[in-house]
Amino acid sequence: MASLDRVKVLVLGDSGVGKSSLVHLLCQNQVLGNPSWTVGCSVDVRVHDYKEGTPEEKTYYIELWDVGGSVGSTSSLKSTRAVFYNSVNGIVLVHDLTNKKSSQNLYRWSLEALNKDSSPTGVIVSNGDYDREQFADSSVPLLLIGTKFDQIPENKRNDVLTRTAFLSEDFNAEEINLDCTNQRYFAAGTSNAVKLSRFFDKVVEKRYFTRDPSQMTGFTERKRFNFKSVHYD
């Protein structure tokens, strides 16, 4: 097969939430047997059929860039990590369902990635402050994944699921809650698999099939924005 077009998706989240296991599960369809901490960035590739089942079906490579560390790390670490944030087409935000702080840190993670995002649509971001409107008309599709679902006791499940529902509303993103050591969560036909392939389809569409001049008119109508930096590719 000739080389296919590439799509780059970042996988972000705190240390120890299960990003490496998740990426391994998505790309190799196997559970990662010996998880160890990752230094720097690890990449894996998933072959995705865009618009599967329709006559317009096309296969794409989705590169999952598993970057990590913590939001509070030193600035030298942060500026080195920023190298990986160039030309990103989609972001997967991973948090640990048993650890509230990891979901709170996701706001800072998304800001860090979007601030460095030099997409051609010129996303205007305000430094530091979390602004909900940013995510509403941000051009980068987001997906929220909660891991370690099996470790939550039965009686606490409802609270946790309500909390993650609020989170996915904030990010304007779909959410998937799973356990990375169990393959059946992504078995073909489950709602998780459907959500996942919808997300990847959205990423591919944004990258290859839409040129949105409407983005430029969108920001002039916004009432409050801190004009700190404009990124152009």
Binding site: T38, V43, R46, G68, G72, S73, T74, F84
Partner: protein, 471 residues
Amino acid sequence: MSFLMDSVIMFTSQVLFFGFGWLFFMRQLFKDYEVRQYVVQVVFSITFAFSCTMFELIIFEILGALETSSRYFHWKFNLYVILLVLIFVVPFYIGYFVVSNIRLLQRQKLLFACVVWFTFMYFFWKLGDPFPILSPKHGILSIEQLISRVGVIGVTLMALLSGFGAVNCPYTYMSYFLRNVTESDILALERRLLQTMDMIVSKKKRIAMTRRQMYQRGEDQNKQTGFWGMIKSVTSSPPGSENLSLIQQEVDALEELSRQLFLETVDLQATKERIEYSKTFQGKYFNFLGYFFSIYCVWKIFMATINIVFDRVGKTDPVTRGIEITVNYLGIQFDVGFSTFARTHVLTYSLTHSLTHSLTHSLTHNHKTFPVVLIAVSLLKCPAVQVFLLTDSSISTLFYSQFRKSKNCSCVGIFCCCSSVPYICSPLQVKFWSQHISFILVGIIIVTSIRGLLITLTKVSHLQTGSCQST
């Protein structure tokens, strides 16, 4: 009646320290994690509270604050509780949590935790063998046995920390050791890193595509031939798999390379930031301080070696002698009726003013300044300087991390506190003063050392869980 009041005072101070330890745990140590086992937080706060109370009792002993009998009672009570916590509770819980992380031993956690605890007690007891602890007056199961062993461990830890600080301080602070890093170096390294990542990606794409094709082909074969087809596919391995293992090996090598490049880039960025910092006024000041402390560190290491080799006992170190000489020199200028402590007060105030000010500014940064404080503390043997340095630095570190806005107020407040210490102690001569102050400064040294140790341990545990530089 006075016993009751003293107890109330001690109890309030204990509750205050407990609350402080609780907050410190939540805000600093467990900043990124959710506390699930509250036992840990409670034990930590209790240990912290009782340690601080012990230190407080020492100060009360010097100042003669509370009733002697109530002080004695509280001292014994504190000591018993601390020993109980330190020797029974904490090792048992450490063993219990370690055991509960190992999957094989899950079912009989308590039993294995007790086994771990007994091993710890055995080694703990063995620790006291080379020391003359056992005396006929006390017997073998007395509290002196435990205290002396704890003391041995504590002194060793302190010595290790100050030795580490003595070597680390010159390396960290002298710009002589800084390599020259330019922006283009970093850009070149980043480009190499991205190129390596691209190569990894392209190889992984080949693997993924080959596996997909094999899977599709394999499935077709299996569907048609069934049982015999499976046997056939075992004997004749498809040609793709050898390629796969080769490419996989290449990918592993490239991933290792990318990790190394990433770490190098982080290193270069950190060096660049240090260079930029050293060009500022603060940076230049610290560079000068660094040279000063480094020379003293080297002198100290040299003298320690000489002492060990020639089996000498050191009398006074140069800084104390120097300050005594300076005091005597200045003393000539002053009136005979001028009290000694005012003399030393003026001198030490002027000496410490710039030092403490800059050190407290530096302590708003992270753990790196801890060795400077430790060296400053342990090497400048003049007690007054140490008191000012330490009280200012310890109190302000505890404050700055929380209340950055009140920097100036706390600085002024602390200097007022420090300058009132000589008035409280009512000394007559430098020697008399230093004897009492040395009790205080030992406690303050311990407080700051423990803070530094806690922060270092947190860093180590972050490395273990991989939150420092990793995914």
